[in-house]
């Protein structure tokens, strides 16, 4: 006897159920919530989840609140989410957050949109803060077109070349005090295979405007190239840009790390720590991790300025800084917090509680004169300070630029443009297309962005 067949549910109904599930995906753009907002006198701070910020969160209640009576509520998110939330909150001037961590990349257009509170008057009136102590390039990069200061740095970084002194000695090689890129390429060829599984150099290849594009752009700058001319003509297929990109891609493919198209800052740090590479060109912040307690390469590493070709220096400039939202009604209290978090006193506090290598450095001249800091971070302190001091965001290459920025172009569209170009470059590093093809595609993308500004 046959079983009575159940009638199947009609198709359209099922497709709709599937659609409902997909509609959820399409609208999946709810921000991360979960903030408890304090009373009327508490400050709300939105910041990126880097180790230095997490440390600050731990120390605030015990030190800042106890002394001033000002309560602080923190919201801590990963970089991508924090950028999104900050731009949402600030663009609506909702005033939900009084203070947020912004970088020198966003500062110009945030200031131009009138989302930030100028800080000159506060800084002038606050003698203890010692505005003069802040390193010049950082101060400049946090000053908008109107000549006003809009943020205070929490820490700053540049880029430099790290290399294994012991490996160089064994191979009978010497690292010049100010290497050129050609010298670095030769040294990479000589140190490739110096130890089993060791490559010559680690350079980022992971797609992302904050990954492969940052070191690559510094190479482009020093080899005479630029993303855009002063009049917004894209120059990605120009001979200089091509030469720099070819150089970078060839160097990674020949003597760089394995799996380069998936290697970013974190992967290269890992390679350097595990002795898989003899040199690493990257952020000065990497040195703190390499020289930390328990690192197998602690004390074996030498530091020299970022390699150059046609310019005097080529290190980048980046900072996480405190911006005060214009709509906030608590800007006086907010300044008190910023003044404390970016103070010399706070650096001392971190140095004495959790060690000087964890200090949010790279922003004050006095940090580099501090005997305790020099004792612990002496190997890279001076090179870092010089790299930051020599960085010139308005003039990083051999020609005038339309915006300020060394390893990026200072327009909102660059996050998208940089990432798309990075995917082309990454494919060239993987050997899936030629550098010329990658740059031709990138030039088209840059053309679209330039049209809006011409």
């Amino acid at each position: 006897m046959p079983h009575p067949r159940r009638r199947r549910p009609p198709l359209r109904g099922r497709a709709c159920a599937a659609t409902a599930a997909l509609a959820l995906l399409a609208t999946g753009c709810a921000g991360a919530g979960g903030t408890s907002f304090g009373g009327g006198d508490a400050l709300n701070v939105l910041m990126v989840n880097n180790p230095q910020m997490v440390e600050l969160q731990k120390l605030t209640a015990k030190h800042f609140t106890r002394r001033t009576g000002i309560k602080v509520h923190f919201t801590v998110l990963p970089e991508n989410d924090v950028r999104d939330k900050i731009s949402q909150d600030f663009s609506n001037q909702a005033g939900q957050y009084d203070i947020a961590t912004i970088s020198n990349f966003e500062l110009p257009f945030f200031a131009k949109n009138g989302w930030l509170h100028p800080l000159d008057d506060y800084a002038d009136a606050d003698a203890a803060f010692d505005q003069e102590d802040i390193l010049e390039p950082l101060r400049e990069s946090l000053t908008a077109e109107d000549g006003k200061l809009y943020a205070q740095p929490f820490y700053g970084e540049s880029s430099f070349l790290m290399y294994r002194r012991d490996v160089f000695e064994k191979q009978g090689l010497t690292m010049p005090p100010k290497p050129t890129w050609q010298q670095v390429a030769d040294l990479a060829a000589r140190t490739d295979g110096a130890e089993r599984g060791m490559k010559g150099i680690c350079l980022r290849g992971l797609p992302g405007w904050g990954e492969v594009i940052a070191p690559l752009t510094t190479v482009v700058n020093t080899m005479g190239g630029t993303w855009f001319t002063k009049d917004w003509e894209p120059r990605l297929t120009a001979p200089e840009f091509r030469k720099a990109t070819k150089f970078y891609v060839d160097l990674v493919r020949k003597h760089g790390e394995l799996g380069a198209p998936q290697s970013g800052y974190a992967e290269c740090l890992n390679n350097m720590t595990q002795g898989k590479t003899a040199m690493w060109y990257d952020a000065t912040a990497g040195a703190g991790s390499l020289e930390a307690k328990g690192s197998p390469v602690k004390g074996k590493i030498g530091y020299v300025p970022a390699p150059v070709d046609r310019t005097e220096s080529s290190g980048w400039l980046y900072t996480w800084a405190w911006g005060l939202q214009k709509a906030s009604k608590k800007s006086d209290d907010a300044w008190k917090f910023v003044s404390w978090a970016s103070s010399k006193e706070y650096e001392e506090l971190v140095g004495s509680t959790s060690g000087w290598s964890n200090v949010p450095a790279g922003k004050r001249a006095s940090t580099y004169a501090h005997p305790d800091y020099r004792a612990e971070a002496g190997a890279f302190a001076d090179v870092t300070e010089r790299a930051i001091s020599e960085a010139d965001p308005w003039n990083p290459g051999t020609q005038p630029r339309p915006t300020a920025g060394i390893q990026f172009v200072g327009v909102p569209e660059f996050t998208d443009l940089g990432t798309k170009v990075a995917q082309e470059i990454s494919a060239a590093i993987a050997g899936r297309q030629s550098v010329d093809a990658a740059l031709a595609a990138s030039q088209k993308l840059a053309e679209k962005v330039a049209e809006e500004y011409r």
Binding site: L22, T27, D84, Q423
Partner: protein, 320 residues
């Protein structure tokens, strides 16, 4: 989008009812408890979708708030002319189809093996299900670092070990992710989704009527014939379910692409591209339009795929 289902096949004749409202009232009495759930479903799924539709008609870059304005359908025009989006459509189709197909075939093989009785079956079943229980992001990280990494990954380590075994000095050390990026992602997804298919098909296998299988054996049907004419038709609904659910989930997959390649090397699928448009480019209008297009496209493909699959099976059933 309506949630009313049109009937394709005439309903079986309803039992004769007394004319009047009592039948209808009773029908509503049974439906009433479900109404809050329906209202809730519409509120949480369809209202945000309507909001997305509205946003998709604006030119809205969150970093240029003063320039936000209504543009009509120009975002949709950009979506269809944007090369990156077109490529990601192809990537999504290839990724979804291959992962679903391979996981179904592997899942069926494992289900057939697990359907037999042997010592330690429960233990083996648990082992096979484990990949599906892993958080997608951690599974992707595991594949990226522990397996694919050319320097300390298991694959190249195994190759080196084999090389040492046979005394070969320089064994090939392929860069898995760079040389075959899409296959690398597909492999990680197949590994995660095979257990899902296996579970569904195993449930199907275990609901086969024992007496019919017995009769087939007595009538002299070989194992292949039994599988071809009895098991496969019986598994039809389970296969359909697996394919449909698998497709819906894998079309949306974001973790593997985001983690293993960051969308590079031509592996950016639609969800990743929409994410980039929203988070990196801050183009809210364009991202919403792309999201709407994804939904519409998925409905069309899902409907079409289901029709094809079910018509195939209907032929099978009529022939059997």
């Amino acid at each position: 989008m309506t949630v009313t289902a049109t009937r394709e096949t005439p309903a079986p004749p309803a039992p004769a009812r007394k004319p009047g409202g009592s039948g209808r009232r009773r029908a509503w009495a049974t439906r009433a408890p479900l109404l809050p759930a329906l209202v809730f479903l519409i509120a949480v799924t369809q209202l945000p979708f309507v909001a997305t539709l509205v946003i998709s008609l604006f030119d809205w870059n969150s970093l240029k708030p003063e320039k936000r304005h209504f543009t009509g359908l120009s975002n949709y025009a950009s979506v269809f002319t944007d090369e990156a989006l077109r490529e990601s459509v192809v990537t999504t189709v290839v990724l979804t189809a291959s992962v679903v197909l391979v996981s179904v075939i592997l899942g069926l093989a494992f289900a057939l093996l697990l359907d037999r009785t042997f010592f330690g079956r429960g233990f083996v079943r648990t082992l096979l299900i484990t990949p599906f229980l892993l958080v997608p992001v951690s599974a992707a990280l595991l594949w990226k670092h522990a397996l694919y990494n050319p320097e300390y990954g298991l694959f190249n380590g195994a190759l080196t070990w084999f090389g040492d075994l046979f005394g070969i000095e320089s064994v090939a050390q392929p860069e898995w992710t760079s040389q075959m990026p899409l296959i690398a992602i597909e492999a990680a997804l197949v590994w995660q989704w095979t257990p899902f298919m296996m579970l569904i098909l195993l449930a199907g296998l275990q609901s086969r009527p024992a007496e019919i299988m017995e009769a087939a054996r007595l009538d002299g049907a070989g194992p292949w014939q039994t599988f071809r004419y009895l098991t496969l038709p019986h598994l039809r609904r389970y296969l359909e379910l697996g394919i449909l659910l698998g497709s819906v989930y894998i079309v949306q997959n974001f973790d593997a692409v985001f983690t293993i390649t960051s969308g590079g090397l031509g592996t950016a699928n639609l969800p990743y591209t929409v994410y980039e448009t929203f988070y990196r480019a801050h183009e809210y209008g364009l991202a919403s339009a792309a999201g709407v297009v994804v939904v519409v496209g998925t409905i069309i493909i899902a409907t079409f795929a289901l029709r094809v699959v079910s018509s195939l099976f209907r032929e099978e059933a009529s022939r059997a």
